[in-house]
Amino acid sequence: MLSIICTALLMASCVKDLDFDQSEDIVLTPIVELDFIFSKFDTNQFVDPSIDPAITVPEVEVDDTLNYDLLGSSFAVDNLERIELSFEFRNTIERDFVFEFGFLNEADQRIGPFFTLTANAGRGEGTTPVVTAETIVLDNATIRTLAPTKRLFSIIRVQNVNSGLRGILDVRSKGTYFINYDL
């Protein structure tokens, strides 16, 4: 019915100076910001306060996996130009922290690149946090290799800790998704 109406209208009139071939060039390029991962470490949550402060633990490692399949859709693979993952560490603990993360497939095997970031040591409890900012760029080729992603793993490592350490490490991150959707 619509086509009959349109045809009738068009026959009774004149449509000038239009170029519908331009529709081939329509590209949607939204830029979407979405929170990624976050964490808040309080020293007394990973070192038992009852341990003698004279005892130094050579290394504490905390790791986790979580469900994450945002990159697995065909839309992401075909239309994500790149993803910028921005991390911000705010640290008052007087130790450097190493933060690692990567991606796992259905069989929990690591795929694609593996990222290591270092949060600089803070100046102690009650001081202004030391801020470390890092950005990781995943280009389309990397996103393609990450298509089978089902889970994300993350590890935090800190060395030479004791129960006398005080302070907080805040991890904040977001993804900026640059979409290029060709109609």
Partner: protein
């Protein structure tokens, strides 16, 4: 996706507006004027529309932009033009399409009382209106990065569409020399209906410098409803004969097998004196009860997302699954409860001054009534139609001219939501008992429809005695 966008922009641009028929209103030389004002003056003894050809009407309008704005061959990049058009349009801009096809139309003067005229008929109507979903169009086209802390409102999602058959019967009585009154009863049989209106809530990405993460993505008080009737059973049809089955289902619904409703039109014509007259009408005061084949989708809830907590979830929130949490917080319910929707009410009014009467015998005027037949008239008409968000208005100046007895014309100048320079015309030929009429508006734009914001046209054949 591409097809959808083409159809959307296509409807938007080629056409669209309201159901205003400013050229036909109070054009009492043809019987279709009775459909706009059942109290229009009639001087017929009998009339019958040529089946399926007595009235075809289409009216399309776009408020806010034209096809040229996006597809104009002006050497500019189309994405730039889309972005400009997107920024220009507001959520009060809309696209409308109304189409009517009269199947039958007939009328006769009462034998008992020559002042009474009965008329009836059947017509099919398609009525679509879609408001520009500004906020979510921006989100889809530009994303949220440049709109941090700005809410995207679900209330910008608004639209309705209906395909229905209308059976009607009207009564028109010349109460006195000064007053004619009329009413028309309508039985609606709806074939398809969709509507999404009165949605509320927002989606906002809020910056949280002191929070757990950079942002909070907040769906707040979301309440979004899409009502459909007549669609669910069509969607289930598959296979080779699905086309035929769809047609047969729709025909069944057209023949009173659809969701039924009742409505009335009322109207009057009042002669203030010999030359001044006043008219008014209310059309489609009624409602349809949707009880068959109803599917209503409703999503309500609140949701906050601030990323995934890792590596260790000290907060004790447990393992997160983003989609599961979203679905639990803003559940999508599918309901089949009966609902009632008012028909889009339309109001018309006019004041007219007639002059230049036939003073010789050149006109067989008695056929058209006792009072002197005037060759010229001018006046003012107003129109309003209720829509999901707010009423639409139009006002027209008109000039009526009986050029020859067999050729009558009306020219209108209309101001409405679409433009301030809408010129319309109606030409009606009366040769022996055969009448043909054709009408269109926005004629100034016909030289290049691409730049038009609204177009309306109608034509038809009648047999009039």
């Amino acid at each position: 996706m591409r097809v959808f966008i083409f159809v959307f922009i296509g409807i938007w641009s080629i056409s669209v507006c309201s159901q205003n028929k400013e050229t036909l209103y109070d054009f009492t030389d043809i019987p279709q004027a009775l459909l706009l004002n059942p109290g229009a003056e009639t001087n017929f003894k009998f009339h019958a529309g040529v089946p399926f050809l007595s009235q075809f009407h289409v009216n399309a309008g776009l408020r806010g932009a034209s096809l040229f704005d996006v597809f104009g061959d002006d050497g500019r990049n189309i994405n730039e033009k889309i972005e400009q058009t997107l920024n220009k349009l507001t959520s009060n801009d809309f696209v409308t399409l109304t189409q009517q096809l009269e199947l039958f139309n007939f009328g006769w003067q009462s034998k008992k009382d020559p002042n009474v005229y009965f008329s009836g008929g059947v017509y099919q109507e398609l009525d679509l209106i879609g408001y520009f979903p500004k906020d979510f169009a921006v989100l889809a086209y530009q994303g949220n990065r440049d709109f941090i802390n700005r809410p995207f409102r679900f209330s910008t999602i608004n639209g309705s569409g209906e395909l229905l058959m209308v059976y009607h019967f009207g009564y028109n009585k010349k109460v006195s020399k000064k007053l004619t009154f009329g009413a028309r009863a309508k039985l609606y049989s709806s074939m398809l209906h969709v509507r999404s209106a009165r949605n509320s809530g927002t989606f906002t990405t809020v910056e949280t410098p002191q929070g757990n993460n950079f942002y909070q993505h907040i769906i707040s008080n979301a309440d979004v409803t899409l009502r459909t009737s007549g669609l669910a059973s069509l969607r289930e049809l598959e296979g080779e004969n699905s086309g035929k089955e769809v047609v047969s289902k729709l025909v069944g619904r057209a023949l009173l097998g659809g969701n039924l409703g009742l409505g009335v039109d009322v109207g009057f014509t009042h002669h203030i004196d010999e030359q001044w007259s006043l008219t008014g009408s209310i059309n489609d005061f009624g409602a349809i009860l949707y009880a068959k084949d109803v599917e209503t989708y409703r999503a309500r809830g609140n949701f906050v997302f601030e990323g995934f907590e890792t590596p260790v979830q000290f907060s004790g929130n447990g393992d997160q699954d983003f989609l599961d949490e979203l679905e639990a917080a803003v559940p999508l319910d599918t309901l089949s409860t009966t609902y009632l929707t008012m028909r889009p009410l339309k109001l018309n009014g006019s004041i007219k001054y007639s002059f230049n009467p036939y003073e010789d015998e050149s006109c067989n005027c008695s056929l058209y009534g006792d009072s002197p037949v005037y060759r010229d008239a001018f006046g003012l008409q107003v129109f309003s139609q209720f829509r999901p968000k707010r009423p639409q208005y139009a006002a027209s100046l008109f000039y009526y001219k009986r050029i020859f007895n067999f050729l009558r014309a009306k020219v209108t100048y209309t101001i409405d939501d679409y433009s301030y320079n809408n010129i319309g015309f109606l030409l009606s030929t009366h040769i022996d008992k055969i009448n043909f009429y054709i009408s269109a508006n926005n004629v100034l734009e016909y030289s290049n429809l691409a730049k038009a914001r609204s177009v309306s046209m109608q034509f038809g054949f009648n047999f009039i005695m």
